[in-house]
């Protein structure tokens, strides 16, 4: 004979199921933050150091962005295809980060027009992405990392172009890597 559930048991079951769905949908979320945090920090520090020592083409470090973009896209597609659930959050986050990426590409295309002050603008765009992500996934550490990127943009605007690379490198550590490692280590507890 089928067991009838009380109203309370029914509501508890519903809550439990919603929780299980969110758990699966949440994912780790840290891969992109860690990938870009490391790559951009290394490129910024690399550029700064090479320029300081008088190397002719310090911008060569930025070639690392090309494979990083490939890895980033490959991972996004792979995760999306393997996911057993799709949520509105995926679409929202996807939309935000694609917009940020396009904004960065446009900014970098007009570097000379900006008198090579592109670093603060890149930091603002990254800040928008990270703050939005932090707010949407409700993790304050991520949101605060984004706020820090915005503050770093202000600092960068006040400094000479060469020092902007140093500021950006430091900003990536606190704005991307710290939130990224936080998400990675607290993943199971958060959901």
């Amino acid at each position: 004979m089928k067991k009838e559930m009380s109203s309370k048991e029914s509501l508890e079951l519903i809550t439990q199921m919603i929780s299980r769905a969110k758990e699966e949908a949440a994912g780790d979320g840290s891969f992109q933050l860690l990938l870009w945090g490391w790559v951009v920090a290394l490129c910024n520090f690399g550029h700064y150091i090479l320029e300081k020592v008088g190397y002719d083409t310090p911008q060569i470090v930025w070639l690392l962005i090309i494979p990083a973009t490939g890895v980033s896209i490959w991972d996004s597609i792979r995760k999306r295809n393997r996911a057993r659930v799709k949520t509105h959050l995926d679409d929202m986050l996807g939309g935000i980060w694609i917009s940020v990426f396009v904004g960065m590409l446009i900014t970098l295309s007009f570097m000379s027009t900006l008198s090579f002050q592109q670093n603060p603008i890149i930091l603002i765009l990254a800040g928008i992405g990270v703050i939005s992500t932090g707010v949407l996934v409700r993790v304050n550490v991520v949101r605060n990392g984004g706020i820090l990127l915005m503050a770093a943009a202000v600092v960068a605007f006040l400094l000479p172009v060469i020092d902007q690379y140093l500021v950006a490198g430091i900003a990536m550590i606190f704005g991307y890597l710290v939130p990224g490692y936080y998400l990675k280590t607290t993943y199971r507890e958060r959901v």
């Binding site: 109203s7 509501l11 199921m17 919603i18 299980r20 769905a21 699966e24 057993r84």
Partner: protein, 76 residues
């Protein structure tokens, strides 16, 4: 239904795992929900393997919300 209201769409294997039901049992239940107009079922392939994806429909969402409201009233 609780699983499906939380997501845009979900695969059959996900629903089976989370509800801890058998494939046969789940199929029957999903069929009933589809016939009632509460969920949509899409059958496709991932490579060579068949893939069944479900999503809640507006009517299903309304019915579920009404059900939860009724449950809450009973508890109060």
């Amino acid at each position: 239904m609780s699983l499906l209201i939380s997501v845009e769409e979900a695969e059959f294997t996900f629903l089976k795992e989370k509800t801890e039901s058998t494939a046969g049992n789940l199929s029957v239940q999903l069929d009933k929900l589809e016939k009632a107009g509460y969920i949509g079922i899409e059958k496709s392939f991932r490579g060579k393997r068949p893939l069944t994806t479900c999503k809640i429909l507006p009517e299903g969402l309304k019915a579920f919300e009404d059900y939860v409201e009724t449950l809450k009233k009973y508890i109060e």
